[in-house]
Symmetry: C2
Subunit: 345 residues, 2 copies
């Protein structure tokens, strides 16, 4: 009995009993922490979680059985994103072929929803989680680790946590290509409607824009860089602000297709035409921009492929294998349509 | 033994043994049919399924347990539909609140995929199925019945099968409202780009268009009605065909937003402006048409609400309750934006 209690964690799987002893709490208390229940004081929870983490405690859901069909959870912050369906499409295709069901959910950035989701995840014994540009509270992230549920993040929102595999797109190269395209048409005053600065992808697109201008020997005019949040409304107001400058740009790189559509509407309201009066480049290549008026020149982001790779990665992790690389960026591609042209001479 | 073998089905639950005896096959053969396995001859399968159906055999998935979290399956034909995400959003919201996971899949109209999906559905012991404008093969539909998995159909594609509850939108009223709006602006030659005739919703929208014209005392000019398939390309070609008429219409009702966007592109290519040269009304109110150029007048279809009601209905069925009505149509609403105006005088 004494030998068991003092067994070092490195000897094998640490038990809940061992964690309880080290934390100076009861076994049911540790169990409550492991199962994400709320009836534990914050300080006790912190102490127990620290011990669980230090000793590498991993719990497989008790309800899992070989007969049960595999499930993975695909989690969005919100499902109103226009590219959600593209990612779902890619994930479903690969998951379906592997006989794995895709449970889609949204946590709406609300911690209550996230906790509820975690409870459901545990109850359905999900085999893996793909998180799309969502922030999980650190405690929930830690719970996933304790449950032993593999996690892959698509298009990370900020600094990716620890060793979680992430899948993104080549955002910097895309921003560079969009801006180089406008430069090659002869534009010299090129506006940028940027994405939210807290997102890594926004920062990368903006840096690509700056790099292209600098490579062309042009100084970045900070008045030509306006903030946006990826939604059409912010493209509308951002474009209006640029048009109100004493010397407006002749071309515009919007860091999302939706902002590009908002910008085109701002131009239309002022009786300005695209591309005759202003060239516009977007970012994403959503299906609908093939049919915007005019069809949009944009940077194609391989959203469905990102979803496919996320499934393959999470299934590898579920089998105990390691991904080829913890950070993958899939290539972006400039798609030239009808919204860009040379500036008026 | 003799008494048991001749027990009528109406005495209670019919057993697999009883079905096997009546079909003149072995118990394992009946079991294979019930479990959807392929190693049964078509004629045997048909005979066994007929008996299962006649005797009301219902099987609950053996893997279901009270501890397991509930799951429902949301099934699309294809996930590239622009309104898929709207329906997913509504379904997920209500399912999440009920602690039910939403498994999203696409069967791509291929029977192989549908059979694969049925196997997975059985393995994960899904508690209910919501089918979105997809045709399930009759045998699969029958298997769902045998498994006792409740089914709800959203926006039925053709004549809804038997007593399956269906949830649709008021398509006829929407077609009527779109056309009445154009008539009220003074248009008399109004073109229709119709949806696929095999879909009930297409037929209802077209009949609403006809009813509005007839109520206004106008004969329907069949040359002004062109076929489409709800996709943008068909709106483009349909609009081009209408413009090539000796006497083109002055306004256009496209039976989907995507066809309306295709039509606007066809007009733009010919240097024609919306609404100055042609008014255009769509159908759906997809999020992106608020930002089309110009913002689209359209008929709002409550897709998210249809998804929400589908979840409530399938959960009621899963509890053994009956829906209030087996057929529900949610209201549609005309949304007037900037793509419609009075005709040039």
């Amino acid at each position: 009995m004494a030998a068991k209690e003092t067994a070092p964690a490195s000897r094998g799987r640490v038990t809940i009993t061992e964690i309880a002893r080290r934390a100076g709490v009861s076994v049911p208390t540790v169990s409550r922490v492991v199962n994400g229940r709320s009836d534990v004081s914050p300080s006790t929870r912190a102490r127990v979680e620290e011990l669980l983490h230090r000793h590498g405690y991993r719990k497989r859901p008790a309800t899992a059985s070989p007969a049960r069909a595999a499930l993975l959870d695909l989690v969005f912050n919100d499902l109103d994103s226009p590219w959600a369906v593209e990612i779902i499409r890619g994930v479903e295709e690969v998951a379906h072929a592997a006989g794995v069901g895709t449970v889609v959910s949204a946590i709406h950035g609300r911690s209550g929803d996230a906790r509820e989701w975690m409870r459901n995840l545990r109850a359905r014994a999900s085999d893996g989680v793909i998180l799309v540009t969502s922030a999980l509270e650190p405690t929930l992230h830690e719970q996933l680790r304790i449950l032993g549920v593999p996690l892959v993040v698509v298009d990370p929102m900020g600094s990716p946590a620890d060793d979680t595999p992430t899948i993104g797109a080549a955002n910097w190269a895309g921003g560079l290509a969009a801006t180089e395209h406008l430069l090659s048409l002869g534009h010299r005053r090129i506006g940028l409607i940027a994405g939210p600065p807290r997102l890594l992808c926004s920062r990368a697109r903006q840096d690509g824009y700056r790099a292209a201008l600098e490579a062309a020997g042009l100084a970045v005019d900070e008045r030509l860089v306006v903030p946006g949040d990826f939604r059409p409304e912010s493209g509308f107001t951002g474009c209006a602000a640029l048009l109100d400058l004493p010397e407006p740009p002749t071309a515009l790189f919007a860091a999302s297709d939706q902002m590009a559509l908002g910008a085109i509407e701002a131009l239309r309201r002022r009786g300005l035409r695209v591309p005759e009066d202003m060239s516009v480049v977007g970012f994403d290549d959503l299906p609908e921009v093939r049919w915007s008026a005019p069809p949009l020149t944009t940077v194609r982001q391989p959203l469905a492929d990102m979803g496919k790779l996320a499934v393959r990665t999470v299934l590898r992790l579920a089998r105990g294998e390691h991904p080829d690389s913890p950070r993958v960026e899939l290539g972006t591609e400039l798609v030239v349509r009808s919204s860009t042209a040379a500036p008026r001479s």
